[in-house]
């Protein structure tokens, strides 16, 4: 696991890797911390130069999780070492702390996700369904020695965006295709993805067409158990009518991993009583013109 705290000595470079997904480099020069990353897009794109739509079909089977991530530390000496670092598009951070301690924390990306099941399904009135999606995470980089001062956030994969709302008003979200599986598939765990259980309950008197839903991941925490990442369970209660749905976030490890340890807090720690648009589709009266 790449998550955790790292004390960097002077002129030391730390190389962290999520196999086939992301290489992260952190180096220290005096009080300055240098950070760079490379997204390894080859498995997402045939050309390797452009990102593609995030799907869950990104990995071969039977890969061990431990093989999917790694850490190595390179130590160099000499005052000029830091200026000889490979040209990786470094960002430099001049910090207050004399001995910065870098903390890497998994966090959900900064936008909600529009999750589109490969095959839409209809939920009968009064029925409830539980689906699993695997959300790609961001890496939060903090200076632990300075009261968890946030330096930056790095999305582990490049993601495309979509619009959720009307032509006049709405919000930008990340776009994710999902199988919306109703079972947990052990072979689908990945080092950079968080398994999210989503319960959808249809309290309306009509069938609910779950063609796509807006998953507000800013309320979700990240839990870890045996190198596998989980979020807490999100319950979406559709009451019908105005397209607003009640969101309830459990705030504790899901039933599938009750002993999982909290390693990433939610951005927006609201758990109950939030009515948000979840199923509303884009209105397109003028799209043909």
């Amino acid at each position: 696991m790449i998550w955790g705290d790292y004390k960097l000595k002077k002129n030391q470079e730390l190389n962290l890797s999520i196999k086939d997904v992301l290489d992260l480099h952190i180096a220290r020069k005096e009080q300055e911390v240098w950070i760079s990353f490379e997204r390894l897009a080859s498995i997402f794109s045939d050309t390797g130069s452009v990102p593609t739509v995030e799907t869950e079909q990104d990995a071969p089977d039977a890969l061990q999780l431990k093989e999917l991530q790694g850490t190595s530390i390179t130590e160099q000496t000499g005052e000029d070492y830091i200026y000889d670092l490979p040209d990786r598009g470094w960002s430099r951070w001049a910090l207050r702390s004399a001995k910065p301690e870098i903390s890497l924390i998994p966090t959900f990306p900064d936008l909600s996700f529009i999750v589109r099941p490969d095959y839409p399904f209809r939920l009968a009135p009064g029925a409830q369904a539980k689906i699993y999606t695997r959300i790609p995470l961001s890496i939060g980089v903090f200076d632990k020695s300075d009261g968890m001062l946030k330096l930056c956030e790095i999305n582990t994969v490049e993601m495309v965006k979509s619009w959720f709302g009307t032509f006049e008003d709405g919000e930008v979200c990340y776009w994710l295709k999902t199988t919306a599986s109703q079972v947990v598939r052990q072979e689908m765990f990945r080092a950079h993805r968080c398994y999210c259980p989503v319960v959808i309950k249809n309290n309306s008197s009509e069938f609910l067409n779950v063609e796509k839903l807006c998953l507000r991941v800013d309320r979700l925490s990240v839990f870890e158990l045996e190198n596998k990442l989980w979020s807490d369970e999100m319950k979406i209660v559709h009451e019908g009518g105005d397209n607003f749905s009640d969101l309830i976030v459990s705030g504790k490890p899901p039933n599938e991993a009750p002993k999982a340890k909290l390693i990433g807090k939610p951005r927006n720690p609201v758990r109950k009583g939030i009515a948000e648009r979840t199923f509303k589709l884009l209105q397109m009266p003028s799209l043909k013109f």
Partner: protein, 283 residues
């Protein structure tokens, strides 16, 4: 005979009003502007700050006149008559002022919006009493009288959060259009600025003289418009080259007379029609 004397204490009071009142008005205007910009928007901040300043200035002016011993009743009456006279003499200015009220009330655009008027596009800097001031993208300041703004067609480019770009594409007649369509959709899907929804559309535009013309319509956030159009064009060209999809362009052949052959477009073998070959070449 008219005589008027100013007491020293009157002068002191007027100076105090000026010395304290004007800086205070300026300070309060700055504070109000900053506060409302942070809380609401730059547009409302500008309007409220200006209203506050002008009202405050008018009150200060009246207070100073009062301190100097002027009776305001006759003065206001005279001002009314003067106003009518000035109004007749400066119809354009009055029209601009009244147009300004309509512009503010209508809210077709606000400070910070990007608008196009009469082929000029720029960011609205302020909506003033007489004119709207814009910063064009070549960093020119453009002043447009309010009356003209009211009479002209104004396009507000940044009113809505998402925008659609139309990109015209031409391919050769020999191309498999279904394949072309798949390639274009793939390019849009992978573009980091293009939105997945609203979904892009590809319209068959026309059978042109030497190409089939299509129109790609893709959506993006308003701030990414140029980035999306540029990156899509680059990527479409690259993918068309990779896939061997031809983008036709007009060929121009130059002749210097009927005795000479045309400049060749393709090199290599001699594919000049017989009629264009010179006598020397024929032998």
């Amino acid at each position: 005979m008219f005589s008027y004397e100013i007491e020293p204490d009157q002068v002191i009071r007027v100076i105090l009003l000026l010395v304290i009142g004007l800086p205070l008005l300026g300070l309060l205007r700055t504070y109000i502007r900053k506060f409302i910009t942070d809380k609401y928007s730059a547009h409302y901040a500008m309007l409220i700050a200006k209203t506050f300043f002008y009202v405050g200035f008018a009150i200060l002016f009246v207070m100073i006149l009062h301190e100097l011993g002027f009776r305001l009743g006759p003065l206001l009456g005279a001002a009314g008559i003067l106003g009518v006279a000035i109004g007749f003499a400066s119809q354009t200015s009055v029209s601009n002022i009244i147009s300004g009220f309509f512009l503010i009330g209508e809210k077709a655009f606000v400070v910070g919006d990007i608008i196009t008027i009469n082929n000029t596009t720029g960011v609205v800097l302020s909506i003033d009493t007489m004119s709207v001031k814009m910063r064009a993208f070549d960093n020119h300041m453009v002043r447009i009288p309010n009356e003209m703004m009211l009479k002209s067609q104004v396009t507000n480019i940044t009113r809505y959060p998402i925008r659609r770009a139309s990109i015209k594409l031409s391919v050769a007649y020999k191309e498999d259009l279904e394949n072309v369509r798949k390639v274009i959709i793939d390019v849009v899907d992978k573009n980091m600025f293009a939105l997945q929804e609203p979904a892009c559309m590809i319209h068959f535009d026309s059978f042109a003289s030497s190409s089939i013309d299509m129109n790609l319509r893709a959506w993006c956030q308003k701030e990414h418009f140029i980035d999306m159009v540029t990156s899509l064009n680059f990527e479409i060209k690259r993918r068309f080259d990779e896939e061997g999809i031809e983008i036709p362009y007009p060929h121009l052949s130059l002749y210097t007379g009927e005795k000479t052959r045309a400049f060749p477009i393709s090199s290599g073998k001699d594919d000049t029609p017989e009629m264009f070959k010179t006598d020397e070449k024929k032998e």
